[in-house]
């Protein structure tokens, strides 16, 4: 996982609510067994519309995606996050995120920033203007800035997630250091629960 510290980029405005992961990464692309190369399939159906925001050359290099509430709802497919990662998205800003999507982003190394609806609306109208909106995001300071537009927003983030994102830490490695606790738990775990060993 790549670490995140500061991101400066134009904002890709996706002014829709309840964007589900079926839209971000349609099912026909979930059959691949690879972990990379999902970029070209991201928002596949919507991209067929020439007016769809991702087709606007202004946003080709956008690393910040701005969307409306409940972003990433539906299916648990991490492929949706891999697709966003592959088109260069490092930060998603929205009024709210679906839980599994949010957690998947944290594992892949994409920063999800939750902001109040009014603030998202303001940013959205600036980002949708002809010139677009450029923002700089500083994870250490937890700030979103654009001096020209007089934007200075503080955001909150769970400390542990922040630490992991900043350092690109492998969570499995961290859990494996708790081997003793896992073993101890396993020894006292109730014996009533099934083992799948006997199933075959």
């Amino acid at each position: 996982m790549k670490s995140i510290n500061t991101i400066q980029s134009i904002v890709l405005p996706l002014n829709r609510a309840d964007v589900d992961t079926d839209q971000i990464m349609p099912k026909q692309y979930l059959k691949r067994i690879e972990r990379s190369g999902y970029g070209p399939f991201t928002f596949d159906e919507w991209r067929k519309d020439p007016k769809f925001v991702l087709n606007n050359p202004l946003f080709q290099k956008a690393e910040i995606l701005l969307a409306q509430r409940n972003f990433g709802s539906g299916s648990s497919r991490e492929h949706a996050v891999w697709g966003l990662e592959d088109i260069g998205v490092r930060v998603v800003i929205a009024p709210s995120f679906a839980d599994i999507f949010n957690s998947n982003c944290g594992k892949v190394g994409i920063l999800c920033i939750q902001l109040e609806q009014e603030i998202v609306n303001e940013l959205m109208s600036l980002a949708e203007s002809d010139t677009g909106l450029e923002l700089s995001i500083n994870l250490e300071k937890q700030t979103i800035l654009n001096e020209n537009n007089n934007i200075k927003i503080n955001f909150t983030i769970d400390n542990f997630l922040k630490h992991r994102l900043q350092n690109g830490l492998d969570e499995i490695g961290m859990t494996m250091q708790k081997e003793d606790s896992i073993k101890a738990f396993e020894e006292t775990r109730s014996k009533i629960y099934p083992s799948t060993k006997s199933i075959i």
Binding site: P26, E45, D99, S181, T196
Partner: protein
């Protein structure tokens, strides 16, 4: 701090391996369900990092998303599906994980086979790389969907770091009327709280109407908890639950059964425990529901009409509704019962269990599917298919004009050849009406199996209670 706990908190605390300020709790996972679509990259990463599967004995794999539901002795037409299915076979073999392969009579949808085998039991923690893992909460277990990175985490450590969710109680007051199913109840709930109403929460469903449901009905409700955005949904176990689990292949036996019951009977939310939020619905007001839009909250009772988006105040909801109506090619004000259909799909982890098939066939008995309609029924597992055939349900479906298929996810998400063509309109017993979910350009209306059967006969939606 209050010592009174919700059911979900009890299970959570019983599975906490490590607790430390400032970091997520580390939960032990009692059962890990695996399927072909969300696991290949997890196994691949294990190999790259030279890691093992810690507890293959607490894992089970099945093939469900990609399999054709027609004759499986014929070659699978899709080379990519073959590759993905072969990858799971190889991973299961290399890492010693039991697999229900396509000719195993126990093969089926991952959320159907686990309860069927008695693997899903009260008080467990269950995960799967699939959002509808919430289904297993029907047994009073803590079950949630995870992404592929987390699948890898569970494979490697049998644990999952998880931030403590909030608790929500959804209470159905009183009984529901005759003819109202679990599907109608859950669609009514999602309609009320919205597709994001449950974000960050575990929902516990309570009330007489919930208690009166069979395990199948409870599974339908918990299955769709994720459609309200919740992390998980659960229902306290009771006699209905115990009776369902008893004597299943993996259920505790003998002394262990008594021990299990003694423990399971402690699994309820303490009286006066605190939930972070509370929602109440009046059971008497719930009608058969039909969705008209492209998310599961965009729905209406069968007696209703499609709402006018211009009457919606919230700008985001209005925009979503306008886009949904344009995608669905529907006009505001149209009566739900006037919507005509091309296809009927009875299946999916929401509604493909024996009770669902019995209920749909009961409506179909002696009737014919309308000439304009193609209808398929896809049992949730090989064992359900067999049982239905023993009960003669297959004959009722076939005589009515349905196609009788092999078990799998099928047209719930159309990763196999079962898809809607662009513009086709389908009454589906599945759980998601997202754009393109059942096939690019396809239009999905979610309903109960009974309502799907009634629509199959009429050619359009109709109140099943009048049939």
């Amino acid at each position: 701090m209050s010592t009174k706990k919700t059911l979900a908190q009890k299970i959570w605390d019983n599975h906490t391996v490590h607790k430390e300020n400032g970091i997520p709790d580390l939960l032990f996972i009692d059962l890990h369900l695996i399927h072909e679509v969300t696991s290949p990259q997890a196994f691949e990463s294990l190999r790259i990092n030279n890691r093992k599967v810690r507890r293959p004995d607490l894992s089970i794999a099945t093939i469900d998303h990609n399999v054709p539901t027609t004759d499986r002795t014929l070659p699978n037409p899709d080379p990519l599906s073959i590759k993905q299915i072969d990858a799971l076979r190889e991973n299961a073999k290399d890492f010693n994980i039991p697999l229900f392969d396509i000719f195993d009579p126990r093969q089926g949808i991952v959320h159907v086979i686990s309860p069927e085998q008695g693997l899903t039991q009260p008080g467990m923690t269950i995960v799967c790389g699939d959002s509808h893992t919430s289904t297993h909460g029907a047994f009073g277990s803590l079950a949630f969907g995870i992404g592929t990175s987390e699948v890898e985490h569970v494979l490697a450590t049998q644990t999952l770091p998880a931030p403590i969710p909030k608790m929500m109680q959804v209470h159905i007051k009183g009984r529901v009327n005759k003819g109202i199913t679990g599907k109608d109840i859950v669609l009514a709930i999602i309609n009320k709280i919205g597709v994001d109403g449950g974000i960050g929460h575990i929902i516990e469903f309570t009330g007489e109407a919930i208690r009166n449901l069979s395990m199948e009905g409870r599974m339908t409700i918990c299955n769709m908890t994720i459609e309200a955005g919740a992390r998980a949904g659960l229902i306290a176990p009771d006699k209905t639950t115990f009776d369902y689990v008893k004597n299943r292949p993996l259920a505790p036996k003998g002394e262990k059964w008594d021990e299990a019951i003694e423990y399971w009977e402690t699994l309820y939310s303490d009286p006066d425990c605190e939930f972070d939020s509370y929602v109440e619905l009046d059971g008497q007001e719930i009608e058969p529901f039909v969705t008209w839009g492209t998310n599961p909250a965009q729905s209406s009772p069968i007696s209703g009409s499609i709402p006018d988006p211009s009457s919606i105040e919230d700008p985001a909801a209005k925009e979503t509704a306008e886009r949904a109506l344009s995608y669905m090619d529907l006009e505001a004000g149209t009566k739900i019962s006037k919507i005509e259909l091309d296809k009927i799909f009875v299946g999916s982890c929401t509604n493909s269990r024996i009770e669902d098939l019995r209920a749909a066939s009961e409506i179909l008995k002696g009737n014919k599917v309308a000439k304009t309609i193609q209808a398929i029924v896809v049992p949730g597992s090989g064992l359900i298919k067999k049982q239905a055939e023993e009960e003669g349900l297959d004959k009722i479906f076939i005589e009515a004009g349905f196609e009788w298929r092999e078990a799998g996810c099928s047209m719930c998400l159309g990763m196999n050849p079962d898809i809607l063509k662009p513009g086709e309109r389908c009454a589906s017993t599945s759980n998601r009406n997202f754009e393109g979910r059942q096939g690019q350009g396809g239009r999905t209306h979610l309903v109960s199996p009974e309502m799907a059967a009634a629509a199959a006969i009429a050619g359009h939606f109709t109140d099943v209670r009048n049939i």
